[in-house]
């Protein structure tokens, strides 16, 4: 909502400078999003185009000669299609401060040659002057603008562009803003005059209004103005409309718009003679009913939509836009002016369904006051009498089936204190409420009965009134305290705790955390998941995606990690290791999806050497595994890895990960075909862990084990087994001995002198007994048992 301050000052005296006024309004909840000021228009004057030559080197450019007053003329280069001889325009001399029409940034006009011709200054567009967004053509001024006058004298006005909240439809008007300004600065509002002479015949009997659906139209006021002369509206009105961002059309339409901006009540003018039987019927549309609107768009309606019809056909979509067939034209003699009240949610639904949003619909949808139509109608009739030569009919037609009760709210001092934490004086409460147009009656000993002014459709309970007091007083003026009282009992968050521990462990392992989008496209999922899986369990789809790229709720993060890896490759072999913690969304029948908490990681590149250069081994399965094991170690868990086949992973280098017998994840090298789909061009290892599956295995408390005072005996053991015997199996069998405190692999070897199909594994074993020092003999005996077990179970041999 744009409010030119000169216009606003007609209704209230502006006693503060614009910046201070904007601050006060914003603090009170009426946010001034932008102050559009006349700007620093030095070196910009009114000019007249006296001659227009063609540019010798460019068809689209012209060379206007501009009279800038004082007998001086300047030739400039101009690209605007709408320039013509005789126009008054805004001429900027070199050195003027303008807004760049393309970048929107402030700039200083310099001397320039354009396609070989020097431009002595410039003819400006609205955008270049900082007045708006229009940049297709130049700004054409009123013909009365005096040539050579500083532009600020002609156009100089400051405009507040408000970012209003949807609860305050009353503020979408000059009067609404004026009321706020008055209350905040101790001024009085001057209501515009609605007095006019009724020279015509009585309105009643000349037209009829029937409301078939009073639930959607509680009130309809129709006024008739005869003998109007259609023509341009007065300059002052055109200038105000332009400054407020509306385009002047003709006197009748301009007056309806002007009064809408003034009062907040949308109006519509019908050509009385084009309304069949002069009968207005407000009714729901028939399903499938068709309608062409003033803007030329054609629509098929549903029976949820409210129409204005005459005796034969529809003439407007109520509260949204008038119809093509009944609009005011040059030939119009008599106007039927509509000022009605419609159901907000219904107007909103219609406007969204038709994809037609208008100044009218955005006001109606917020719920306007039923008291407004007769006031706005009278104001518009007065202006039509004055500026369109019309004769006002006697009286108006006012059908009001859905009368609303006047709002009354009781506010106790107890409630005020409870909500605000302080007790304002009754005098101050009355002062604030009265300034805002509320009636405030003190009912001793402890309460106010507050009458809500008709335009404040948003106020219905005590706390609404309390907010009025708080915002006018200023929130910063109210007291401040700290929460007291009982701190609620702790509700454990094991899922979050686990997630944060895993996150820390992964970062500890040298991996960089990333956060990627939760939505993706089907192609990305297809790159990393088998087709059958996507067919059986299709991901949730967003019905109105921002882009095809973000259409599906992801069921994996594989693509996201690989995409991020790909986008961070810089043409060298540097080690990159990334992880992400996020949910995947697994659809469920008729319910919200299962949001499964996952951790994904990728590692790729060569390990750094002593100097940090990527010259080491390419990171593969084992690099990923050491990182994942780092996590399990942080969680004090032991994971089992079992070789597995998984889509997207390379067979032979892939494992399922188990903790406490539950499958919690996958790890492996990414299948070369998949790597290729992401254009990565080097080996990648990846892991994925389901934290929800891991959760039951988290043990919160560590149980202390006494450190044995007896020395351990350290020994190495080398055996030869078949090539496909997993080391993990051997470890398991060694660990089965209760004298083995610790065992780890330290060498794997195949080749000469080991027989083909065999490999040698070396283990460091530490033997320890509870409560005593082991003797050499005892160790030897236990070693013998272990070797025997390995021979029996795995056909292992001691390596010579």
């Amino acid at each position: 909502m744009r409010v030119p301050l000169r216009w606003l000052s007609e209704y209230v005296d502006l006693v503060l400078d614009p910046e201070e006024l904007a601050r006060r309004l914003t603090t009170a909840g009426v946010e001034v999003g932008e102050i559009i000021s006349a700007g620093d228009w030095q070196n910009i004057v009114v000019g007249e185009v006296v001659k227009l030559d063609k540019h010798p080197n460019a068809d689209r450019l012209t060379l206007p000669t501009v009279d800038i007053g004082g007998g001086e003329q300047r030739q400039v280069v101009c690209g605007a299609p709408n320039i013509a001889v005789g126009q008054k325009i805004a001429y900027a001399a070199v050195g003027a401060r303008l807004i760049d029409g393309h970048s929107g940034e402030p700039t200083v006009l310099r001397k320039a040659k354009i396609r070989g011709v020097e431009s002595q200054g410039m003819v400006c567009s609205e955008k270049e002057l900082g007045l708006g967004e229009a940049h297709e053509g130049i700004l054409v001024l009123s013909p009365e603008a005096p040539t050579g006058a500083p532009l600020a004298d002609v156009l100089g006005d400051t405009v507040f562009d408000f970012d209003l909240t949807p609860n305050r439809p009353d503020l979408f008007s000059m009067l609404g803003i004026a009321r706020e300004v008055a209350a905040l600065t101790g001024q009085k509002v001057r209501d515009p005059s609605i007095q006019y002479e009724e020279k015509g015949a009585a309105a009643k009997g000349r037209a009829k209004v029937s409301i078939a659906d009073p639930d959607l139209c509680p009130r309809y006021v129709g006024a008739i103005i005869d003998d109007v002369k259609i023509g341009p509206s007065p300059d002052w009105m055109q200038e105000r409309l332009t400054a407020a961002g509306l385009r002047p059309i003709n006197n009748i339409v301009d007056i309806t718009n002007y009064v809408m901006l003034e009062t907040g009540q949308p109006l519509h003018a019908f050509d009385y003679d084009r309304l069949a039987k002069h009968h207005i019927i407000v009714r729901r549309a028939e399903a499938g009913e068709k309608m062409e609107l003033i803007d030329g768009s054609k629509h098929t309606l549903t029976n949820e939509m409210l129409l204005i019809a005459d005796a034969e056909r529809s003439v407007a979509v109520a509260g949204v836009m008038g119809g093509f067939d009944s609009e005011v034209t040059k030939e119009t003699k008599t106007v039927l002016l509509e000022a009605a009240n419609f159901n907000g949610p219904n107007i909103r639904r219609t406007s969204q369904a038709l994809k037609v949003r208008t100044d009218a619909s955005t006001r109606f949808e917020k719920g306007l006051s039923q008291h407004l139509p007769p006031i706005a109608a009278a104001r518009a009739v007065k202006l039509m009498v004055e500026h369109a030569g019309g004769r006002a009919a006697k009286g108006v037609i006012d059908v009001h089936p859905g009368k609303a009760k006047e709002g009354r709210v009781t506010v106790t001092m107890e409630r005020l204190v409870r909500v605000l934490g302080m007790e304002p004086s009754t005098a101050r409460v009355r002062e604030i409420l009265t300034a805002l147009g509320f009636g405030a009656r003190w009912m001793p000993p402890d309460r106010f009965v507050v009458r809500v002014p008709y335009w404040r459709t948003d106020v219905s309970i005590a706390d609404d009134v309390i907010e009025e007091i708080a915002r006018i007083e200023g929130y910063d003026q109210l007291p401040t305290s700290q929460l007291r009282g009982e701190i609620p009992e702790l509700v454990p968050q094991p899922r979050r705790d686990l997630r944060e521990r895993v996150r820390d462990a992964l970062a500890d392992a040298g991996m960089q955390e990333i956060i990627t989008y939760s939505l993706t496209d089907l192609e990305s999922l297809q790159k990393v998941l088998p087709k059958e899986e996507l067919a059986v369990a299709p991901p949730l789809r967003v019905s109105n995606p921002l882009s095809r790229q973000w259409e599906y709720a992801r069921t994996t993060l594989r693509h996201a990690l690989l995409d991020t890896l790909a986008s961070n490759l810089r043409g060298d072999q540097s080690l990159i290791s990334l992880f992400e913690m996020a949910c995947v969304y697994l659809p469920r029948e008729d319910d919200l999806p299962d949001e499964v908490e996952m951790a994904f990681g990728v590692v790729s590149g060569r390990e750094p050497d002593r100097w940090g250069r990527p010259t080491g081994e390419p990171a593969g399965f084992y690099a990923a595994k050491s990182r994942l094991d780092h996590v399990f170690s942080a969680l004090r868990m032991t994971a089992d890895y079992r070789e597995a086949k998984e889509s997207a992973y390379l067979p032979g280098r892939t494992a399922e990960v188990f903790v406490g017998g539950d499958r919690v994840g996958l790890i492996g090298e990414v299948h070369p075909q998949v790597v290729e789909r992401f254009d990565i061009g080097r080996e990648v290892a990846m892991f994925e862990v389901n934290l929800d599956a891991l959760l039951p295995h988290v043990s919160e408390i560590v149980h202390f084990q006494p450190v044995s005072p007896y020395p351990a005996v350290e020994e190495d053991l080398a055996i030869v087994v078949g090539e496909d015997v997993p080391a993990g199996r051997v470890l398991e069998l060694i660990r089965a001995s209760n004298l083995v405190a610790n065992v780890s692999v330290f060498d794997v070897y195949s080749g000469d002198p080991i027989a083909a199909g065999k490999k040698s594994l070396a283990f460091a074993i530490s033997y320890q007994a509870e409560g005593k020092t082991l003797s050499d003999a005892e160790v030897a005996k236990e070693r013998g048992r272990i070797v025997e077990r390995l021979q029996r179970e795995l056909d292992a041999e001691l390596r010579a």
Binding site: E19, A22, R23, T26, T27, A28, G29, P166, P345, R348, T362, E365, R418, V419, G421, I461, D463, D464, Y475, L478, P479, T480, S481, Q482, L483, R484, G485, I487, P488, Q493, R496, A507, D508, Q512, E513, I514, I515, T516, S518, L519, L540, R541, V542, S543, P545, L546, W550, T564, S567, N568, L575, S577, F579, Y585, L592, P593, D609, R610, W611, G612
Partner: protein, 347 residues
Amino acid sequence: MASDTDIQQLEAAALKDLDAASDIAALEEWRVGYLGRKGRLTGLLRGLSSLSIEERRTVGRAANELKERLEEAHEARRHAVEEARVEQVIVGERRDVTLPGPPLPRGRLHPITQTMRDIVASLSGMGFQVAEGPEIEWDRYNFEALRIPQDHPARDMWDTLWIDYEKDGRRPMLMRTHTSPNQIRVMEQREPPIRIIVPGKCYRFEATDATHEWMLTQVEGLAVDEGISLADLKGTLAEFARQMFGRDRKVGFRCDYFPFVEPGMECRIDCFICRGDGCRTCHHSGWIEILGAGMVHPEILANAGYDPERYTGFAFGMGVERIAMLRYGVDDIRHFYSNDLRFLRQF
């Protein structure tokens, strides 16, 4: 049989060998060889058993004196070798202290995670506990229970991504537009006093630019109890803002509208650039908005089954990206989820 001669010979040999030992390992070997439990001197003393008591005493004394002399010589030699070793380091094996050590991998948390943790830590200190909820939600929780019914113009404040799922001719499932729905879920399950924060991802049907992202991270706070007032809300937010942005910040409040609070407000801090005078960054207001808040609307308390005459509460919500941008001076919100390592590694 041991004699004086044996002792003299042993001494000569020992001193010769000691001279030859040029490092710590050789010295240790020498010590074990001569003075150890199975060393030559011990061997010599063992031979004394065949002598007369008188001889034994004489030779024994001589042997003990030799042991002391050898130990002294060993100590001196050891000292000399260590000195020589240090000398050698200084001369030929010194470290260039300006060279780096071998690299250790360094992982970092995403700046949004870091900021989120700081926010949670600050509010935890004031007794707020984390309560998480689903990212894909019902319209009922995301809007209706928060006083934003169908066809309410306030829905424009949260442009929504809808899930393609229809029931009874409506689309009831959506990507949550804020973490506020979890307020309702928690109030349905618990009784006052309540003091929670809800962190999590949210989604908007919104074109992206330097200050807008369609995926964002929010922290929502809710406190409900007897005797909670707007003054407590102001105090809580002011303390939070100073913990996050520095104790010398000015914290201000202005009226704002959210359907689920009454009165509603926006919390702001003085502009980083102009410190309150007004500049381009703060749209000449002198203030930078950091979060929205207000007193929980009595209707919402009543819907949760709480007596709105007895209980009051406040709620607040903030965008973590916005807080991170202000703290780190990040000029474009799109940096966060483009995951360029050159950006991420700065935090």
